[in-house]
């Protein structure tokens, strides 16, 4: 066998690959995040790297890992070395503090606005013209309406969806029993549970499944504005009431100490609160915690609606998690695939 010629080419290719992949940066930061923040952090990381270079002269690299929030939490507990967490709900970071003891339990009081540089909410995305006439949560349980939402066991966004529906039902129908019945009917209308919010969005948009997507507000906006023909195919329906999605950020103490990245990680999260960070958040359809810093044109896109919090309606995430999403909780009781 004579392999000389192809193997020469192969060597050149391998050499090219090796050179291309070599990182020039001195330190790297790993940001472990949930599904829909991909575009936000792609933008933000570029700005932060520039800012840090101007400020200190150091070249840094920021790496991203995305997935369903619950899955990402599990990975960090199992040893994925995140310098910073930018997750969908505080309960996930609580879990990391409790189970892996990587950061103190009072992490949420360390940054402004309860460690929330931005928040979001849950809205509906429907097909153009809203053929099924979806206006409020109550319309989702109607017969013949197919609803797309991810699995609350693995997705933080899906837990917000579930709790928003529950809170609506408890308020309008008057009792917990009625609320349980309501979500049971709702999940009967769900043909497929993806593991993360982004999976559900592609199911709805790309594969054309379902009449309504219960989605993060930013996911819904992204689907309409950043997708070819998005405006001709879909529209956003804002229910009169929904849940305030509190999406916190935190530095992971033990990891940054080990990696020697504490100053970098802290600066990274602080920069989220700066005018640049707030502008980028608003641009990517997250509601900035300091709206006066963001562009007014971006802020105008956010519809006004009545928002309730997990703390008000469910007594905090720990309680909500135990009652609804842990093994044997209400979700296990009502969901039969």
């Amino acid at each position: 066998m004579n392999f000389t010629k192809p193997s020469k080419q192969l060597l050149i290719l391998i050499a090219a690959l090796l050179i291309s992949g070599t990182a020039l940066a001195e330190r790297t930061l790993l940001n472990v995040s949930y599904d829909p923040t991909r575009e936000l952090y792609q933008d933000f990381n570029k700005e932060f790297i520039k800012y840090w270079k101007d400020k200190t002269g150091e070249d840094v690299e920021v790496q991203q890992s995305h997935g369903g929030g619950g899955k990402q939490t599990r990975a960090v507990i199992d040893g994925l070395e995140a310098d910073v967490l930018t997750l969908a709900l505080s309960y996930d970071i609580d879990q990391i503090a409790e189970k892996a003891r990587l950061l103190p339990k009072d992490w949420q009081s360390r940054l402004p606005h309860n460690s929330l540089p931005y928040t979001s909410t849950i809205v509906f995305l429907v097909r153009k013209g809203n053929p099924k006439g979806i206006k409020d949560w109550g319309d989702l349980v109607k017969e013949g309406v197919s609803v797309i939402t991810p699995n609350p066991k693995t997705s933080g966004g899906a837990r917000y969806n579930y709790l928003a529906a529950w809170a609506y039902a408890e308020k309008t129908l008057g009792s917990k029993e009625a609320a349980k019945d309501f979500v049971k009917k709702l999940y009967k209308n769900v043909p497929v549970l993806d593991s993360g919010a982004r999976g559900s969005t592609t199911t709805f948009i790309q594969r054309g499944q379902g009449d309504v997507l219960i989605a993060w507000e930013n996911e819904a906006f992204l689907a309409i504005n950043d997708n070819e023909n998005g405006k001709d195919q879909f529209e956003i329906i804002v229910p009169p009431t929904s849940i305030l999605a509190e999406t916190p950020v935190a530095v992971v103490d033990k990891i940054v100490k080990k990696n020697g990245t504490q100053d970098l990680a802290e600066a990274y999260l602080k920069y989220l609160y700066s005018p640049v960070g707030q502008k980028i958040a608003a641009k990517h359809y997250y509601r900035p915690s300091e709206p006066e810093q963001a562009d007014q044109a971006d802020l105008k896109r956010f519809p006004k609606l009545e928002l309730f919090t997990v703390a008000d309606k469910f007594g905090g995430w720990a309680k909500a998690q135990k009652e609804h999403f842990d093994d044997g909780g209400t979700f296990d009781q009502i969901y039969a695939p």
Binding site: L17, S65, G79, G199
Partner: protein
């Protein structure tokens, strides 16, 4: 998965007793339709989507740093796992085909284990063993060595799923060839290694290459097991199959399908080489049988 040895084809002409013509044509048409719908059409879709925005977009998405990093990691993983499974496969096949020992059937069963275990489980067992909360995780973490969510974990998971390929290919082949030639060599004074390199290896070379080829295809294409242990850090721990999923989820369809076209290309090349190797192996066997008959 094709674990049946290709040398076992017995009939040179198909048996056509009593089947009416229309039955045959209907079956052929049905087969072609199924192949067209389930194999050719998806493959064509991959290419159409990859080139949906022209050559420029295709090329630029393949030369994106994240894609290059994914290609690099995929090649690295294959470069580590394939030689290891080859060495293991040859020694296992040698032991099983040449010697009688206690626990032989148990060994064969164990070799097949990765075929019967879901790849996701294969990934999870490594998380349970090497994860931060696992058995050895804390020790590795103290010594600053990353297994899970880093390259070693990806290699381990890939090793697990590709383990049986070479061995499974060689065992029936070596049993079929028999050991007369090797015994002759040994009785003429050749050492064990000489016998292996001069007699055994030339006899099994096509089968061995065939096993290596299948093993390589799987090592580069594995998704489930690798997904569990990867951590999905873009540009660092995403292999090509994982990179495809990431790109798809970011609405970067050209990028996703461009990467997919690489894997599809790998599949086609694998198929062509595989056919060639099968043919070559048959020729060799025929030749050696003829030689044996004329003696």
């Amino acid at each position: 998965m094709n674990t049946i040895s290709p040398v076992l084809t017995v009939h040179s002409k198909p048996l056509t007793i009593g089947d009416a013509d229309w039955v045959r044509y209907a079956l052929v048409a049905l087969t072609l339709t199924i192949i067209g719908v389930f194999l050719i059409l998806p493959l064509a879709t991959v290419l159409i989507e990859a080139f949906a925005k022209g050559w420029g977009a295709y090329a630029s998405s393949l030369t994106h740093p994240d894609t290059l990093a994914a290609i690099k990691l995929t090649l690295l993983t294959a470069a580590i796992t394939v030689p290891l499974t080859t060495v293991f496969g040859v020694s296992a096949a040698w032991a099983i085909a040449r010697f009688e020992f206690r626990g032989k059937s148990l060994l064969i069963t164990l070799i097949d284990l990765p075929f019967s275990v879901s790849p996701v489980i294969a990934g999870l067992i490594y998380v349970l063993i090497f994860g931060a909360q696992g058995w050895f995780g804390p020790w590795f973490s103290e010594h600053n060595f990353k297994v899970i969510f880093a390259v070693p974990g990806i290699v381990l998971a890939t090793l697990f799923v590709t383990f049986p390929f070479v061995a499974r290919e060689l065992i029936p082949l070596m049993q079929e060839i028999g050991h007369e030639e090797e015994e002759a060599a040994l009785s003429l004074g050749a050492s064990g290694w000489q016998t292996f390199f001069k007699i055994t290896l030339p006899n099994i070379k096509w089968g061995l290459l065939y096993g290596v080829l299948l093993c390589n295809a799987r090592a580069m294409g594995e998704f489930g097991a690798v997904s569990v242990v990867s951590g999905h850090i873009r540009g660092l721990t995403n292999t090509l199959p994982l990179h495809i999923e990431v790109s798809y989820n970011e609405y970067d369809f050209v990028g996703a399908f461009a990467s997919a076209s690489l894997l599809a290309g790998l599949a086609v090349v694998t198929l062509v080489v595989k056919t060639f190797l099968e043919w070559k192996q048959k020729q060799d066997l025929k030749a050696s049988r003829k030689a044996a008959d004329s003696h």
